[in-house]
Chain length 519, copies 2
């Protein structure tokens, strides 16, 4: 198998660049050969094998090395793809946008620089995963929680830069970041917020600065390399009450969200309330093969059987209450009156031997764990991609959207496997399209389904909050309000901040001028 080199760079130039990189980080932190590079594949890619493969990988141990690396790749205009922990599974994992990029692997920068118990924040480097931060806090006897994404190995920085979300009240990671240090393409180091003030001790206590806020600009973009980030951590509440409510009929979705909206807008349920559909929920404890070995979506009778076997509903609603018991009690009454008013609702506070319940209970109290991963076993050899439209938590809208998307899935021979996350006022709808990578046709129609959904969603006025590498351009094109004025702005800033277009080109469909294809 021939070695991959970046597009528009010949092999010899590339090797010289690799040597200079080796000079910066040391030979053993420049990866070239097949085995370690396999760690950067997207094991769940909707594309055929062989696409989005890196040419090499370089792992700096600090800011200086990043500056020198950027100087090198700027000199040779070699695109790099920056990853923190590289677990962006379902959105491309660690894979670069295009084959040939050099991986800028920040995993070695995994210091938890500061944990401040008094103000409840942590300052971390890109390589710090939720699991590591979690352990560190337990080690130092801290009472602060983290807010992990479902996979425990996700990165605190990576996830926040992806506008990732968790299941505690600190679920919106972007909102909870406070202060970041960014290395610009030309190596200049900028600190946002009070970080810009020399010797400031308040970098992580306030986002405010006498001037504009830039943190948002360095998220889901390729304007810089984030080397430090502050994150607010939730102090452990006096007590915690997770609950799960199962709903019998699919149409309950409408009522569910009519009441959820009020509960969220009024902040009765402080964390991301999530309505998990039957199969997503079942896939944590069993496999499809157990119930059905036919093709296509499961017939309703099988669904009913799965529901009966595992005491599940068509929708399995998770939420939690935090705070002093009397407050929890009072809020529970409000929640109960609201959510249990839907006929057939059954509430669960404790489900014996139910791994799905266990991992959610743990997520909602800030305990990272790997269990959500076992849903990958739903279909053997598990490929999957997430379609994540964002919308408002309104009943009728949620139901309409669900029916549309479910209909599309079934047309393409897929089961609908999804969950609705309700943030403060918005609603993430996450569709998990699962396919057996080994099955050619199945992978193809997963791909087509996704594309179709993007367009139909945009038609209906829905945008995704994030997406898989393979669909970033298509999605960028849906943001065409005012002839995509926003993306013009992206490009103008891109050109001025990364004239050589070496920072993660194509991220979110933001390309350097040289790689912009004209219409």
């Amino acid at each position: 198998m021939s070695r991959i080199v970046p597009q528009g760079v010949d092999a010899s130039t590339f090797n010289k660049a690799l040597d200079e990189l080796a000079a910066v980080v040391g030979k053993q932190w420049v990866f070239l050969d097949e085995l370690p590079l396999s760690a950067y594949r997207d094991a769940y890619s909707p594309l055929a094998d062989g696409e989005m493969l890196p040419s090499a990988a370089v792992a700096p141990d600090g800011v200086e090395q990043i500056q020198k690396i950027l100087a090198v790749v700027n000199a040779y205009k070699i695109p790099v793809w920056t990853i923190g922990t590289g677990r962006n599974f379902a959105y491309g994992g660690p894979a670069p946008r295009k084959s040939g990029y050099v991986m800028l692997d920040l995993r070695r920068m995994n210091r938890v620089i500061e944990v401040n118990e008094k103000y409840g924040y942590a300052l971390v480097e890109p390589g710090v995963s939720y699991m590591q931060l979690y352990r560190h806090l337990r080690q130092i006897g801290s009472k602060l929680w983290i807010d992990p994404a479902a996979p425990a190995w996700g990165g605190v920085i990576g996830n926040a830069l992806e506008h990732g979300a968790g299941y505690t009240p600190y679920g919106d990671h972007f909102v909870m970041q406070c202060g970041m240090e960014v290395v610009l393409a030309d190596g200049e180091i900028v600190r946002t917020g009070q970080g810009a003030l020399a010797g400031s001790k308040h970098w992580q206590v306030t986002k405010h600065v006498a001037g504009p806020h830039f943190d948002g600009m360095f998220t889901q973009s390729n304007f810089g390399v984030v080397t430090k980030m502050g994150i607010w951590l939730m102090p452990e509440p006096p007590s915690y009450k997770p609950f799960m409510i199962t709903y019998q009929k699919e149409e309950d979705l409408e009522a569910i969200f009519e009441v959820t909206r009020a509960l969220k807008v009024n902040q009765i349920i402080p964390n991301a309330a999530v309505a998990v559909d039957l199969l997503w929920e079942a896939s944590a404890k069993t496999t499809r093969r157990h119930y059905y070995d036919g093709k296509g979506p499961l017939p309703p009778s099988i669904r009913a059987k799965i529901a009966a076997d595992h005491d599940l509903g068509m929708w399995n609603y998770y939420g939690a209450l935090y705070g002093p018991p009397p407050v929890i009690e009072n809020n529970w009454k409000v929640v109960e009156d609201a959510l249990m008013s839907i006929p057939g609702a059954k509430v669960h506070f404790d489900r014996k031997n139910d791994p799905a319940w266990d991992y959610r209970v743990r997520l909602m109290r800030g305990e990272p764990n790997m269990t959500e991963f076992s849903i990958m076993n739903w279909i053997g050899g598990g490929g999957h991609i997430n379609f994540s439209p964002i919308s408002a938590p309104s009943g009728s809208e949620a139901l309409a959207q669900y029916k549309l998307i479910k209909q599309r899935c079934n047309d393409h021979g897929f089961d609908y496997i999804g969950e609705f996350l309700v943030g403060w006022r918005d609603m993430h709808h996450i569709l998990m399209i699962m396919y057996d990578r080994a099955d050619e046709t199945m992978r193809k129609s997963a791909y087509d389904l996704f594309g179709l959904l993007v367009d139909e969603a945009a038609e209906a006025g829905f945008g995704e909050y994030r997406t898989h590498l393979a669909f970033m351009d298509q999605i960028a094109r849906t943001y065409k309000h005012n002839d995509g004025a926003l993306w013009d702005l992206h490009h103008r800033l891109k050109d001025v901040l990364d004239p050589n277009g070496i920072l993660s080109p194509g991220k979110q469909g933001i390309w350097p001028k040289a790689m912009r294809t004209s219409a």
Copy 2:
């Protein structure tokens, strides 16, 4: 008195520009003569009369007119100063940064475009004041609260762009804005967030966009003219419990903030808890002249008398609890145990005939009112400027800061008049320097005091969250981390987004290249 023209523009060119402007908005919306222009003076300016006077003012009625206005002033490189409602008192009011600017007065754009009861948001134009929005909501029978700044005539947009704050749980206005429409210097119109998606119905329900967030960039800056902004509004809580606690000794400040921090970080007190000092509190119901007609700071005996007369403490702590009564009750217990543990603390739930208590009770429940203005009567003919350092709510730090600042005030013959606002994890310290504008020496030493404080605060690692026009440059210079890398970034963006430097030049010390003075 001769007419003022913009710097570096001769009179005739200016008049042609004025005519073109008149062609855009109509003659009667271009203001030239002395009386209407007096409305743009900073009635409380720390500078002598005659500084920061506009040359003219133009009042567009919509986006198109702004685009055409910008085309005109770009053509003639005439700087404009954008205001929404122009009540930025204590920070320069409506006055421009330098004399000669043309006022871009957006007061006529005062539509409340949409109020959404279901998702609890409003979409407004720059001319909408808190009072107007408040009345509109009452008119339409809405159950949504606003979060007003103390002066009811403040602008919803203006205040948010200033990182302004209020006293309900939705106090941090920047955090509560969701989606904005910006007219760039070249007239291009950009919508942030889902607004960038054509036909999106979720512009105000989510900040998220598949891509970077730009909203922060257009705040406290001069990169564009904000013509629309979404703002989240708090649904009326089941009930509301305001409280005031008076503390006898100044040193109580330390204990106050040790406990407040925990109460805020754990979100027991959801709104901005504020510790108001004796004189700020007294100034709402009486005047200095009543107690003392000597010069310099009031002697302690007079302070004790004021405290006794009006049943006040050296610190007068305001906060409120929201939610169902049982929750309030429970949280009150936590608050009480914490805040009343300080000896001499006296709690008040109801103060008869106490205008200071009344206006705070109203602010904390989202009722705009004018009362805080009567504190201007503390010293007749009231000039004043606010020194607003930002820091962390830690007792020792608050006390040290208070003593330092109080000492400085007294050295300059001023009483310390201030309040400490505690946000989520940060603390705004607002010092109100009051002087009799008619008294030359007093105004001068207010000016010197302010400058001195800026430098000493920066020394100690404190930055201001916002400031008066007169001190924007000085403050910009304090953000010199990494040789002011942040401000380099400001300028690079300024140059690319406003090449002609006509948008509010000097805002926050961000000048167009042409007006940047080399060190």
